[in-house]
């Protein structure tokens, strides 16, 4: 029995996945970045032999340990949800995800049981250099572990290196390297990990600033700010570069997401970048409620064209160009994509019926047709569009995507200023006299988490309704179970994760208050 997935089931399943992923991402970026900061500090200890650096290293290692321990395995719940709530998706992509997730699991296990154990248990038991090596390998391992998850996510954003097998209803990997080195996957990994470096730097500066405000742990705070501000500044510049690359990849491979994150409804040559804008409640298009008018916007001419295609006058398609098509620029309309998607679904249905009827000859001929390059490139490529009748349903939530993107970018540039001010005043020896800067640094810690979460909202809300871009929308991916049971587990998770977060904050705040001496 196949029931049609209702909106409530899809929405609750999405809400549950979003909740779990966002809670998981509270813990991950700090781990990605603070491990490198700790490694730099320990390197300074090993090079100089200065015991103060050892004390500093051990203090930040403790905070890393608390964050790591509370966050560990929270991502496993996402895998539970694949099997229970997203079983069709899970089956559809199984062969592609198997390899990266298995590598991630093995890497994480060995990293956690070996290098982290040496980091925490190995002081005075292994040589200084061996301990330092374990610390560096923990940092590198944590970031490599993230690579495999982000490769899987990158594939969902831009599926490559596979072929759909109608007999098994699965995508089968035919080129591992194409999956691994897809531009989307590479951009995603570099951008997500460098955002973790920036978050961790803000975290270290914020806590150090708190010590300076309290006039305690002065040496630890100053030395920590020095390392974190340099690391944060370099990472921020790298973050801008990776973000810029990522934007270009999105403009090419996910042009609806690109139009949504800039609130661009009608494309133009020499398109301007909306640096700042507010939406009104009124829709600019009576046929699409999602296209809200801007109440206010500040636009910088030509920048968007340059960002997207490195050409000041390039044409950047807007939402309406994508829906209605634009012959002049060779853009196929969503109406045409929907038609082609329906042809692909009809052909797959024919294949299924032939198999059911035991007509092997017809099934074999349909399989040949379905898997031919011509059919794959002209019809199966648009398979997911076939589930829709109204192209308006293929437009993501534009205000949420726009605000999240601008929040992320705005805060990213604010952090650059924070690192520069921190470094300048520290080198001038006046940091601890600037109370406004110390307060700002403390307030910046939650802002770094907001920027980090906003980045994922851009990535995931901006590509709706797709679970696998162009191939599988969430309505086809979701398991036909009762929406009530998904609601129950949603609240269970909300409670469980909130308790975990409170536990982390309590243990961490206490450890910060105790400081490094104990």
């Amino acid at each position: 029995m196949i029931e049609i997935a209702d909106v409530s089931l899809v929405d609750w399943s999405r809400a549950q996945f979003a909740l779990t992923a966002m809670y998981h991402w509270i813990f991950v970026p700090l781990t990605l970045g603070i491990t490198f900061i700790v490694a730099f500090m320990e390197t300074l200890y090993v090079k100089t032999g200065n015991e103060e650096w050892k004390k500093i290293t051990m203090f930040w290692m403790t905070l890393f340990g608390i964050n790591f321990a509370i966050g560990v395995a929270t991502g496993i719940i996402l895998e539970f949800e694949f099997g229970t709530n997203w079983s069709n998706y899970s089956w559809f992509v199984g062969d592609i995800f198997g390899a990266p997730l298995a590598i991630e699991g093995i890497l994480a296990f060995f990293m956690e049981s070996t290098f982290i154990a040496i980091m925490f248990f190995g002081w005075n038991k292994v040589s200084r250099k061996t301990h330092l090596l374990a610390t560096w390998l923990t940092a590198i391992g944590a970031n490599l572990s993230a690579l495999w998850i982000l490769v899987a996510n990158g594939w969902m954003q831009h599926p490559v290196g596979m072929k759909f097998n109608p007999e098994t209803a699965r995508n089968e990997m035919d080129n591992f390297w194409e999956v691994l080195f897809s531009q989307t996957a590479v951009d995603k990994w570099l951008h997500a990990t460098s955002s973790g470096f920036v978050l961790a730097s803000v975290f270290v500066i914020g806590i150090s600033a708190w010590y300076l405000l309290k006039k305690r742990e002065i040496q630890l705070a100053k030395k920590s700010i020095l390392v974190a501000a340099i690391f944060g500044l370099v990472s921020s510049i790298y973050l801008v570069i990776t973000g810029d690359n990522s934007t270009r990849t999105i403009a090419n491979d996910q042009n609806m997401k690109f139009a949504a994150l800039e609130g661009l409804y009608n494309g133009s040559e020499g398109a301007g970048l909306v640096a700042f804008g507010f939406f009104s409640d009124n829709s600019s298009d009576p046929n699409n409620e999602n296209l809200k008018d801007f109440n206010l916007k500040i636009e910088i001419p030509n920048i968007l064209s340059y960002m997207a295609f490195l050409d000041w006058n390039a044409f950047v398609p807007g939402v309406n160009d994508l829906i209605n098509g634009n012959g002049k620029y060779g853009i196929m309309s969503y109406y045409d994509r929907i038609e082609r998607g329906k042809v692909a679904i009809a052909k797959l249905t024919e294949f299924k019926e032939a198999q059911k009827a035991g007509n092997k000859e017809l099934a074999a001929s349909l399989k040949t047709e379905l898997t031919s390059d011509d059919f794959q490139n002209n019809y199966f490529k648009y398979f997911g569009y076939g589930y829709f009748d109204d192209p308006g349903d293929l437009v993501p939530n534009i205000p949420l995507t726009f605000y999240s993107f601008h929040t992320m970018v705005g805060l990213g540039f604010y952090f650059i200023l924070l690192f520069i001010f921190s470094l300048v005043f520290l080198l001038k020896g006046t940091f601890e006299k600037k109370r406004w800067l110390m307060r700002l640094a403390i307030i910046s810690i939650p802002l770094a988490y907001i920027a980090s979460q906003a980045g994922w909202i851009v990535a995931e809300v901006g590509r709706q309704p797709w679970v696998v871009q162009d191939l599988m929308p969430n309505v086809a991916a979701v398991t036909r179970i009762s929406a009530g049971s998904v609601q129950t587990t949603f609240w269970l998770f909300a409670i469980l994760f909130t308790i975990l977060l409170i536990a982390e904050l309590k243990i961490m705040f206490r450890q910060i208050k105790i400081g490094p001496k104990h």
Partner: protein, 74 residues
């Protein structure tokens, strides 16, 4: 002096490490163990069965089911 067997050295490394943990380490280990128990014993078993594994006996049936969903979803 004769060096200890490598396995014994690894064993004592972990054993002494856990034995000499500080307060915060003990607290986070309690959190980890409670969390893993809730996740794998309660959530996984009672709330998150693998739908396709639980509902169908073999991969052929699972493929047929997904194919059915893919061709009938609206």
């Amino acid at each position: 002096m004769k060096r200890q067997n490598i396995f014994l050295r690894v064993w004592y490394f972990y054993f002494n490490g856990f034995k000499n943990m500080g307060t915060w380490s003990r607290q986070v280990w309690i959190v980890i163990l409670v969390k893993l128990f809730i996740m794998f014993v309660i959530l996984k078993i009672f709330f998150f069965p693998d739908f396709l594994k639980k509902t169908f006996d073999n991969d052929k049936q699972r493929s047929e089911h997904v194919l059915e969903v893919l061709t009938k979803s609206k």
